[in-house]
Amino acid sequence: MLSYIIKRSLYMIPTLILISMLVFTLIELPPGDYFESYVAQLLASGETVDPQKIEFLRREYGFDLPPYQRYFKWVIGMVQGDFGYSFEYQLPVREVVGDRLWFTIFITFCTIIFTWLIAFPIGIYSATHQYSWGDYGLTFIGLLGLATPNFLLALVMMYFAKEYFGTSIGGLYDPEFIDQPMSWAKAMSILEHLWIPVIVIGTSGTAGMIRRVRANLLDELRKPYVTTARAKGMPEFRALMKYPFRMSLNFFIADIGSILPSVISGAEIVAIVLSLQTTGPLLISALQSQDMYLAGSFLMLLAFLTVIGVLISDIALAILDPRIRLAGGVSR
């Protein structure tokens, strides 16, 4: 088992190297660089530009070097914890991302838990009561959630939150806490605002998850070992939990790998609508202004999270499923 985990972790290295190359290429693809768009912006607003200063900045940040050298500079810096410098914010990338990253991870985490809490009981109910009114009703509600555009739901929810709970519009906390250090009051304010993005981002994922839990469980419910368990005299619910449900978890754990990035990247539009202090809007603006280090580091971060998510799900699967653990006659 230990050797499996080590082996599996080592697989991450070539994967991440490949991803970093891909990310770098993607960022390099659009013509021009940050300084060109900066100059264009200055000219557009009627200001004069000192070409020498721009040239100096270019050299300073290594933009005159050939791409592969810049690539290595970037990668080596990242390994050492230096994610480069954001031109737009005039700050190191690490400081720009900073808090936002934690908020993002926090919201993502809450959303995943929310999705599971809702989707699992409903999915199990739908599967065990297939084609009943309950199944149809819950499926209908779930599909409504899937079909409603997230930004619209976000606007509606904000309105109702303001109307009935007096929650301030937008943001993750009340305006007076901006740039304040973390305190009890600020934490409470975050919790007060948190439920809107969690529900908004969670609904669409929940609907999909319900369908998948239902489909997977239905497949398993028809398997003969379920009959075996019933023939043994197991109470229905206990048998359901121990055998088919446990089997249907496999798909779901395999899904963790893809759930992390999809929740983070899927939430960008919603984050802008709700003016959340998360990473989504930052990424979008960085891509727009060709803020190369910021965007690149960001994409790398997402990739890293994905790879970690897949690693977690692989290890969890191996723990949960002996067929994977003992595949190929591995000794116990």
């Binding site: 003969p224 009959t227 075996t228 043994k232 197991m234 121990k242 002996p322 067929r323 190929g328």
Partner: protein
């Protein structure tokens, strides 16, 4: 009944139906029978006869769309109360049912692989019943589980407790399922086709085990099966059902010696058995009638394999054929070691023109691999395959490109599973046209005519051509498969277990059809099967394979009368006959486990000085034995 025994279970006028789209289907229509304590009752019938539904009704584990419409199932169990309880009348979640299931009535299932959860250890799944019914702690229940595993013949019961089902062989898995059924010492066990999925030698071992344990614990067994051989060896009483109705019931002696009902008589005549004379036909349950035989003669002139005036030269020669499968265990970073599995090991045989060679072996013996090698579906590691075709000698393994393509027309295959071997999205017509298309044979008109002829040849109405495979029964699908194989006028036909997925009655039809086609068309064929009786019915000579090696080859009468190799002997000794005078000799059946050669005489094992080689006895009888062995020692 030798002595008066206490009544245990009474099924009275049971009616069960299933809700399906647009109505209800009655699966069981008024079945009554009773079981006594410590007796074995066999419930016999074809698939769809409702026998499994009766079992599910007794345990009340019918699928959710099934309901018991009327009738009573009375269970007299002293441990659960003085009075008999009507199981059919209880509510779905009645506590009595949970006590009864697994505790007083338990079940053994057909597929030991799918009946066990792959995620839980065997021990965990067995002791669960103890925990549920006996309120035992972990240490105590583990001890009992290990005990019962020892009782059912696990070679290493402590280790077996920790195993997962996929780590065990089919026979051991079924032993685990039996252990699970026995652990609470129930009054009754329902065994639903407990040995159908197993090899014949393993089947004999499992039957022996069930018989032993049944005697030991005085448990009643309701044995559900379609195999009359199993019935003859196990049952005290027999209940025959057909289409949900009871046809005949009585003590096993009466049933076998004086069958009354025409259905039962027909069922018995439909099973191939070893005492059949050459040329004797099976009587199929629902005969196809006369027109089919005429059809065969009508078309045989066109489909007949021509050009073999000289029948002394073999049609197909297989020489020292070998196949190794290599599985890589390495990973991205480590080279890993390759593990080699020898699937086919130095196999040689010949098939004469127009002859049918039977290839017998248990699962994993390499018989299907041999057929794939001959078909060039996979490539051989060593050896030679020669085909003496009309167009001259062909070195099959050396063929490439257009020559290989041309070869495919000469040899065709009939597959085991009539359901997955036909594309469900193609009509029968397009299935039958495909070979012509692929090989660019004929024009649209002639193809049309050929397809109609093919349908008649296999005894199907040409009007069915536009239907899809799902609207046919298993037997009819197999006919379509045969028609497809015949489309290009092959010289050699390979039949890979063509009837093992079919019911007894349909099996007889298909075997008769294959026999007719073979004699009428003069086809050379290789018939692969695990069922000795079936091979005996169709084959002229029989080859026996064991773990990749061909251990014995002889004309069929010689092989059955005078088997030489110990493996052939054990195979023959394991076949249950539907005949009360020739019961299995349970004493001689032993659990061999992995080391299957341990009971073989030295003459059949290689030693340091000499390996194994094929030794020719008289009458074309070949046996694989030690090179230095004395011929007289063998016979």
């Amino acid at each position: 009944m030798p002595e008066k025994k206490r009544q245990l279970l009474q099924v009275e006028d049971l009616h069960v139906s299933f809700a399906i789209q647009g109505g209800r289907v009655e699966a069981v229509r008024g079945v009554s029978f009773s079981m006594f304590k410590g007796t074995v009752v066999a419930l016999v019938g074809e698939s769809g006869s409702g026998k499994s539904v009766i079992a599910q009704s007794i345990l009340r584990i019918l699928p959710s769309n099934g309901t018991i419409d009327s009738g009573r199932i009375l269970f007299h169990d002293r441990e659960l109360g003085k009075k008999p309880v009507d199981i059919a009348g209880l509510k779905t979640r009645d506590p009595y049912l949970y006590q009864m299931r697994g505790g007083r009535i338990s079940m053994v299932f057909q597929e030991p692989m799918t009946a066990l959860s792959p995620l839980h250890t065997v021990g965990n799944q067995i002791e669960e019943a103890l925990r549920l019914h006996r309120n035992m702690g972990h240490a105590e229940s583990k001890e009992e589980t290990v005990d019962i595993l020892r009782l059912v013949g696990f070679p290493d019961p402590k280790g077996g407790y920790e195993r997962y089902p996929f780590e065990l062989s089919g026979g051991l898995r079924q032993r685990a399922v039996i252990a699970m059924a026995l652990i609470c010492n129930p009054a009754m066990i329902i065994a639903d086709e407990p040995t159908t999925a197993l090899d014949v030698t393993v089947q004999a071992q499992i039957l022996k085990l069930m018989k032993q344990l049944q005697k030991k614990f005085d448990t009643a067994i309701l044995l559900i099966t379609h195999d009359l051989g199993v019935v003859a060896n196990m049952a005290d009483e027999v209940v025959v059902v057909y289409h949900g109705k009871l046809m005949e019931a009585g003590p096993v002696e009466t049933i076998f010696n004086h069958p009354q009902h025409p259905y039962l008589k027909a069922l018995m005549a439909a099973v191939p058995h070893f005492d059949m004379k050459k040329g004797e036909r099976l009587v199929s349950l629902r005969d196809m009638g006369k027109e089919k035989v005429n059809a065969v003669s009508e078309f045989s002139s066109r489909y007949r394999v021509r050009g073999f005036e000289d029948k002394s030269e073999p049609h197909l020669v297989v020489k020292n054929l070998g196949k190794e499968f290599i599985t890589r265990k390495g990973s991205f970073f480590t080279a890993g070691e390759d593990s080699k599995v020898i699937a086919v090991d130095d196999v040689s045989f010949e098939i004469m023109p127009g002859e049918c060679l039977g290839l017998v072996g248990e699962s994993g013996s390499g018989k299907t691999t041999v057929s794939k090698l001959i078909m060039r579906a996979i490539s051989a590691t060593s050896g030679q395959v020669l085909m003496n075709s009309k167009s001259g000698m062909i070195d099959v393994l050396g063929l490439n490109g257009p020559d290989l393509f041309e070869y495919r027309r000469k040899i065709q295959m009939i597959f085991q599973d009539p359901f997955s071997s036909l594309n469900p999205r193609m009509t029968v017509k397009s299935i039958l046209l495909e070979p012509f298309d692929v090989h660019k044979v004929g024009d649209p008109e002639s193809r049309e005519r050929d397809v109609v002829d093919l349908m008649k040849l296999v005894g199907l109405d040409p009007r069915f051509l536009n239907r899809y495979p799902h609207s046919f029964s298993g037997g009819q699908r197999q006919r379509i498969g045969i028609a497809r194989a015949l489309a290009l006028h092959p010289e050699i036909m390979i039949c890979d277990e063509p009837v093992s997925a079919l019911d007894v009655s349909v099996q007889a039809q298909i075997l008769n059809l294959l026999n007719d086609l073979r004699t009428e068309l003069g086809l050379t064929s290789l018939f692969i099967s695990h069922n000795l009786a079936v091979v005996n019915y169709v084959a002229d000579r029989i080859a026996v394979m064991c773990r990749g090696k061909l251990v014995e080859l002889a004309p069929r009468e010689v092989l059955f009368a005078n088997p030489v190799h110990p493996y052939t002997k054990s195979l023959l000794a394991s076949v249950p006959y539907p005949d009360l005078d020739r019961l299995l000799d349970f004493e001689s059946i032993q659990y061999t486990g992995e080391d299957y050669t341990s009971t073989w005489p030295d003459a059949f094992k290689p030693n340091e000085n000499s390996g194994l080689s094929a030794i020719h006895l008289e009458n074309g009888h070949v046996v694989l034995a030690n090179e230095n062995v004395d011929l007289r020692e063998l016979v």
